[in-house]
């Protein structure tokens, strides 16, 4: 019989094995496939951050693309206006995203919940998009803002391969950080709010603050993903953070598995890679994307993570949403 500690230890080993194997990935790529691999790392964080709110906290929300945009613009503005190296803009993007998380969820402190809070987050996202477009002096308006890709602390960040290693390190740190957060008292409180907020409050847990904390952590992770996206594309445009992006992010969380860390990785990887295979059929991408999402959710309503969990108990997660 396998002990809980043994399973946890195995899970930890697997957690570190995946990025170690990934270190060799650039040997097999060309600049195009490298670009896609880098996008997978970015979307892993985007999905993970989104999943914390809609999966672990159980709050329907639409502000994810706002956090993504805030991080991207914070990084681009800090690079271009303040002349900071890109690596130094990462904490700025994370903090800006966390601030965005606070602003989007501040209504929760006044007792706003569920669909009402969801609408507030939607309005926040739209407000941010309006801001990117109209604050031209700061954001470059509709022409976007270029992101300088020079050498940062000896790293040639214009190279897709170097970007990959930097993104991989950041992604590993944030995934590990999220796993630890979810295991902590705060994480358990987040799950408890999802399961029964009144019961949680009766235990003396300040549920409103817990909701805001989950949003802020989500904003922090997704904000950093935004900084990575800014470097990845070399220029940030308002249209990158619109409704289409939100739908794709939503699909990644659902396909991976609501509230599952492994699912966030799987959903991001699957829905970044698979549409690339239908490039040969122009105009079919949207149909293909829709069919994939429907098929996965019909066959595996708990997402791809549940498929792995079926094969091995080490992939079973306590925080996964049933």
């Amino acid at each position: 019989m396998q002990t809980a500690t043994g399973t946890l230890s195995k899970r930890r080993r697997i957690f570190w094995l995946v990025p170690l194997i990934a270190l060799a990935l650039p040997l097999l790529t060309n600049p195009y496939t490298q670009f896609i691999a880098n996008a997978m790392l970015i979307y892993t964080l985007v999905t993970l951050g989104f999943s914390v709110v809609i999966g672990n906290l159980g709050q329907l929300a639409f502000a994810n693309t706002a956090f993504f945009g805030i991080g991207a613009y914070a990084s681009a503005i800090a690079s271009t206006s303040l002349g900071l190296p890109w690596l130094a803009t990462i904490p700025i993007a994370g903090l800006a995203g966390a601030l965005g998380g606070f602003l989007a969820s501040a209504a929760a402190l006044r007792g706003i919940r569920l669909y009402y809070l969801a609408i507030v987050t939607l309005a926040f996202g739209e407000l941010m998009r309006w801001f990117y477009t109209h604050a031209g002096a700061l954001t470059g308006g509709t022409d976007g803002l270029p992101v300088p890709r020079g050498r940062d602390f000896g790293l040639a960040l214009s190279s897709g391969t170097v970007q990959f290693y930097v993104f991989l390190a950041i992604t590993c740190l944030l995934v590990a950080g999220t796993v630890n957060l979810l295991r902590s008292r705060i994480g358990r409180a987040i799950i408890a709010v999802r399961e029964n907020e009144i019961a949680t409050a009766s235990l003396g847990i300040p549920t409103s603050q817990i909701i805001v904390t989950a949003f802020m952590w989500s904003g922090f992770i997704v904000g950093i993903a935004g900084a990575m996206f800014a470097l990845h594309t070399g220029r940030v445009f308002p249209e990158s953070f619109g409704l289409t992006q939100l739908i794709v992010n939503f699909a990644m969380v659902l396909v991976g598995g609501l509230g599952s860390v492994v699912g966030a990785v799987l959903g991001a990887v699957a829905l970044t890679a698979l549409p690339e295979y239908v490039r040969a059929f122009p105009g079919m991408e949207e149909i293909f994307f829709g069919v994939i999402v429907m098929v996965v959710l019909l066959v595996m309503p708990k997402g791809l993570a549940s498929l792995l969990a079926r094969f091995s108990p080490i992939f079973q997660q306590r925080y996964h949403r049933d």
């Binding site: 600049p31 022409d143 976007g144 991408e285």
Partner: protein
């Protein structure tokens, strides 16, 4: 542990060395019987109607192939979808350059997507003819391998303002636009041209995409009482704007962009009365159903029988004609450098479809420097040089 770390370091080092960017090969994408050309466009997404520009271009390539190709080589188009999204466009460009290994790139609707991929294409060094996106940022300042084959935003904006001022007695001009780069690429040069000619807009209004009512804008315009309105709006919003102008009895001419089609706008609003004072930029030598465009319409329908033709269907063909001229001149021993040199020799090329000729040089890569206008004259769509002056 030390040993493992060393191994890991070696692996990373080898990887970095192995994936360093290689210099572009001069004959990549060429075989004895084919020239591989990457054609990028928004084949999906909410701007997919622009992909008609790429369909027209590919029909032209097929016609050239049916006529025997160029120096025994067929033009093989490799399509890639950008969805008008900068990140997707980057993936598409990288795939065409590094995986499909095309000889050159041609096409591209959507300025945002084109601006995003520009640095990668400059670095890769392969020739790129921009056949639809209009932003001047793409070809200004000029770089060695980028050629603009359509009137750019500056040219279009100036042409719009010039037409507006060609109407006798025009002193007050108003601007209604979307708040996006597409609209600004028309209205900013138009503003500059108006200013040069001593005209300051009497009203500058925004109508957002997806807006279904233009009452607020129309009422403000009634107050401002302009002689002419410059409208940088997509087709759906243009129809709404014209409908509401009629509803509130505002009988002022409106100058629209190349992003709207005169006949389509008529179809959308349903009556000639509403559009009889509406003018659009028109980059062609004739009306869409005129005799000079018929051979191009027939060509598109030969290869794409179900294709519904609009203003966009023809826009990329002119730059295709210029490409074929340059490929012929470059001779059978084609290289990327030779093609770029021959494209730079294109001077005042009458493409038989664009209303203005194409001229390229190393100092000026915006090849098309003016645009005509189309409007209804006596109920018939007519191409105009200036107010009351047929093309």
């Amino acid at each position: 542990m030390k040993f493992k770390l060393k191994k890991l370091g070696l692996l990373v080092g080898l990887t970095l060395a192995a994936t360093g960017s290689a210099a572009a090969d001069e004959t990549t994408g060429l075989t004895d019987d084919a020239i591989k050309i990457g054609v990028m466009g928004p084949f999906s997404g909410n701007a997919s109607s622009y992909s008609k520009a790429e369909i027209g271009l590919m029909a032209y390539f097929q016609m050239i192939n049916d006529e025997g190709g160029i120096h025994g080589r067929k033009l093989v188009a490799v399509q890639e979808d950008t969805a008008c999204d900068p990140a997707k466009a980057l993936a598409a460009a990288k795939k065409l350059i590094y995986q499909d290994e095309v000889f050159m790139l041609h096409g591209n609707s959507c300025s945002g997507a084109a601006i995003a991929i520009k640095p990668d294409i400059v670095e890769a060094g392969l020739p790129w003819i921009v056949a639809h996106a209009v932003s001047d940022t793409i070809s200004v300042p000029p770089v060695k391998n980028i050629f603009h084959g359509v009137p750019t935003g500056n040219t279009n904006g100036e042409a719009m303002a010039a037409f507006v001022l060609s109407k006798p007695g025009t002193k007050n001009v108003a601007i209604v636009e979307h708040s996006n780069d597409w609209a600004h690429s028309y209205t900013n040069p138009a503003r500059a041209y108006l200013k040069e000619n001593g005209v300051e807009p009497v009203a500058e209004l925004v109508m957002e995409r997806g807006q279904t009512d233009a009452t607020a804008q129309v009422l403000k315009l009634r107050q401002a009482n302009p002689d002419f309105i410059i409208g940088a709006l997509y087709e759906a919003e243009t129809a709404i704007f014209l409908r509401d102008m009629k509803k509130y009895g505002l009988d002022i001419p409106v100058m629209g962009t190349a992003g709207t089609d005169l006949e389509n706008t008529l179809k959308r609003v349903g009556d000639l009365d509403t559009v009889q004072n509406y003018f659009v930029l028109h980059s062609y030598v004739d009306n869409l159903d005129g005799p000079l465009l018929k051979k191009w319409a027939d060509m598109i329908h030969k290869y794409y029988p179900d294709e519904a033709l609009t203003n966009f269907s023809y826009i990329s063909i002119g730059s295709g004609v210029a490409l074929v001229e340059a490929l012929k001149a470059a001779g059978p021993d084609l290289t990327r450098a030779k093609l770029i040199a021959e494209l730079d020799k294109i001077k005042a090329l009458d493409t038989g479809i664009l209303s203005s000729p194409i001229t390229w040089s190393p100092e000026e890569r915006r090849g098309v420097k003016s645009s005509a206008v189309a409007g209804f004259v006596d109920g018939e769509p007519t191409v105009l040089k200036a107010w009351g002056t047929p093309y």
